[in-house]
């Protein structure tokens, strides 16, 4: 099996690589179109700001390549947000794989933004959450989120319910960081790699 991690100007890629090492999977870290197209699994990680990462993807033509992929693709954190239609973070037009807009958490007295730490996900119905315990805790760090929509396959509640995971055709996405979400995160990654 060939697994590719898409190379772009996002942080924390190292953590994703280490997570795959722990699972015992070989991977390629590349932005080369041929390599990405020929992969069995594509991981699109991300920590970063929407407009900066999106303009980098455009510069490299990755904004056209990613939506055209047909093998299983997993986007995480900003990766997931860039797969949506639009992000309020610096009013960024994103790739539009998921027809939903990413919004900033509303300012709420006594509640901190970013949403940082471990929170439980519920209502899951994704192949990636197969055999997961109920109310599994995963690690989030974000100030923007996709509302619950027709593609939502797991929800989380912070100020309002939001999409913790999205799924459409071959595209899967998680707002949380699978790579540092303990055994639960590892299980989700393993489920993705088994698709």
């Amino acid at each position: 099996m060939k697994t590719v991690i898409i190379k772009y100007n996002a942080g924390n890629v190292q953590s994703v690589m280490y997570a795959l090492d722990r699972i015992g999977i070989d991977y390629l870290y590349t932005d080369n179109e041929e390599e990405i197209r020929s992969a069995d699994k594509v991981i699109f990680p991300g920590v970063g700001e929407a407009s900066t990462t999106m303009s980098y993807l455009k510069e490299k033509g990755l904004d056209k390549l990613i939506p055209s992929l047909t093998q299983p693709v997993l986007g995480t954190c900003v990766g997931m947000q860039l797969m949506c239609r639009f992000s309020e973070e610096n009013n960024t037009t994103c790739m539009g794989i998921f027809d939903v807009d990413v919004k900033r958490f509303p300012a709420t007295p006594g509640i901190k933004v970013p949403h940082m730490g471990w929170n439980n996900i519920t209502n899951y119905k994704s192949a990636l959450t197969k055999d997961l315990i109920d109310n599994a805790y995963v690690y989030f760090v974000h100030s923007y989120a996709a509302p619950v929509c027709e593609y939502t396959v797991a929800t989380c509640d912070y100020i309002n319910p939001f999409s913790a995971m999205l799924h459409k055709d071959n595209f899967h996405a998680a707002q949380f960081h699978c790579e540092i979400s303990g055994d639960i995160g590892q299980k989700i990654l393993e489920n993705f790699l088994k698709l």
């Binding site: 190292q14 901190k112 933004v113 970013p114 949403h115 730490g117 471990w118 509640d157 995160g185």
Partner: protein, 258 residues
């Protein structure tokens, strides 16, 4: 529901953890990677590794340690100690750290916080504040920021400094009270509560944990988002699974892993 976090702190010198009472009298508490992995398995929510030597020779050893930790554990971890430039942060994040903590260098050059937040994103920039309640030259008692492991006093008042670092782009505050650190008499509740209520970023409380009730107090009265401790975990005075069970029984949101 977003949980309260329990964070063991590992002070590291030459790849091994050490912990001093009031930052002196260092004692060896074991191998840093192994200890971190054990805490992760026990349900620690995050780890903090502090390079207490932070010398040039120690630095490359520390980066190697960060790489081994990142490779081994599957929960977030923060690293700190002697970080003073974008290049330092870049090396640590590339080695696999999830967040970096800066302290003295932020006091010396507050613009560094803005620069790091812009370069790497606020989410990975933790500003550590060591504070002590002292009599100022005007003869009044104030919470004053200290640096160099709490040895050196600054001109900065703690409460406005906490707000300033947030405004400059810090993603999290690590507040250590030098008055309570090492005492095991409990966290500095009043100060933690004031700072947390003023902040729109998470506050990690540190210094003074001696029993499980102290954690309950700092999460309720102290309004902290996370509680950090070192020796009580290293010397097994409190076991993390017991602590989390205790806090959950008292209706605090905790991530239970067992």
């Amino acid at each position: 529901m977003l949980t309260k976090r329990i964070i063991p702190c590992l002070d590291v010198k030459d790849g091994r953890t050490v912990k001093g009472v009031n930052f002196v009298n260092l004692r060896d508490a074991g191998d840093a990677v192994e200890l971190g992995a054990m805490y992760a398995a026990q349900g620690a929510d995050e780890l903090v590794y502090l390079d207490i030597a932070a010398t040039v020779e120690g630095r490359s050893t520390f980066i190697d340690l960060v790489r081994r930790v990142a490779h081994t554990i599957n929960i977030p971890f923060t690293v700190g100690g002697g970080i003073s430039s974008i290049a330092d942060v870049s090396a640590l994040l590339h080695a696999g750290a999830d967040k970096v903590s800066i302290n003295s260098s932020a006091v010396r050059n507050p613009d560094l916080i803005n620069e790091l937040a812009l370069e790497f994103g606020s989410q990975c920039i933790v500003v550590a504040i060591d504070t002590r309640y002292v009599e100022t030259s005007e003869g009044v008692f104030e919470h004053i920021v200290h640096t160099h492991g709490g040895r050196k006093s600054t001109e900065l008042r703690t409460i406005p400094w906490a707000k300033e670092v947030e405004d400059r782009g810090a993603g999290e505050l690590l507040l250590t009270s030098m008055d309570t650190d090492g005492t095991k008499d409990g966290f500095a509740l009043e100060l933690t509560s004031t700072i947390s209520a003023n902040a729109n970023i998470p506050v990690i409380a540190s210094g003074g944990a001696g029993n499980m009730e102290h954690f309950y107090d700092v999460f309720t009265e102290g309004k902290a988002d996370a509680g950090l401790a070192a020796s009580i975990f290293h010397f097994r005075e409190i076991d993390i699974p017991d602590l989390k069970q205790y806090l959950q029984n008292k209706a605090l949101p905790m991530r239970m892993t067992k």
